[in-house]
């Protein structure tokens, strides 16, 4: 089992730091391209939502933990923002035409589509989103 962790505090550099953090893990653990894309996207969408909505662009702690164990990758993203469960956001209408198309909710839609399991946990200090995906498609 391997556990990796990073704390993102600067909203400006958070997304680039996160991508580099995950890229190092992906290389070290020889993770497949499909899982890599899912990890990068789900983590970015979750972190951007926290920065934009949870902290309203103000500085705030975001702790990202990546655990590789028993054929699964688990990304846990915790913040100290006001309590909010992103999984309650109504599903994005991905069938809407261009005129009716709203962009909101697409991040959470991507997370749900790309990961096998997504769970929200309210903590004393904030929120955690726990996202899991099988490392090989035969396990999912």
């Amino acid at each position: 089992m391997a556990v990796y962790q990073i704390n993102l505090e600067d909203a400006i550099t958070a997304v680039t730091q996160l991508a580099e953090f995950l890229s190092d893990i992906i290389e070290k653990e020889s993770i497949s391209f499909e899982v890599e894309n899912a990890m990068q996207l789900s983590a970015e969408e979750a972190v951007v939502n926290i920065i934009t909505h949870g902290y309203n662009g103000k500085p705030g702690m975001i702790e990202v933990t990546c655990e590789i164990a028993d054929g699964f990758v688990t990304l846990t993203i915790c913040d100290e923002a006001p309590h909010f469960n992103p999984l309650t956001i109504p599903p994005a209408d991905v069938d809407a035409g261009i005129d009716e198309r709203r962009i909101g909710g697409l991040g959470v839609h991507l997370i749900r589509s790309l990961m096998d399991k997504v769970r929200y946990k309210q903590t004393d200090s904030g929120n955690c989103l726990i996202m899991q995906k099988a490392l090989s498609s035969s396990l999912s």
Binding site: T16, A19, E20, A92, D95, G107, S113
Partner: protein, 116 residues
Amino acid sequence: MEDHLSIQEREISGITILDISGRIDAATSSHIEGELGKKIDTGVTTLILNMKDLSYISSSGLRVILAALKRVKAEEGTIALAALQPGPGEVFKMTGFDRLFPISPSVEQAVEKLKS
């Protein structure tokens, strides 16, 4: 890591092509937003985005190209996508964006389609 975004411009048969390489994420989406905005401001309403070397796009990138598509559509123009790679291709499919944009396997085919 290929984390930066680079955008080169060229023209084929009078159609503007933007060759995009790298990643479009929340950190780089303002770059392509600026480039698309500049082109549309100068009256270019038909564009091809060559995504052959685009390795990654998140919803921040989708937001920018959808806003650009809405602007050019209002002027009877369009934005066509070419040579989508598997990662970005999956994102376009999952979000239904593959039905909003004309998509071609190559730039040459996108040019042919726009000319016809």
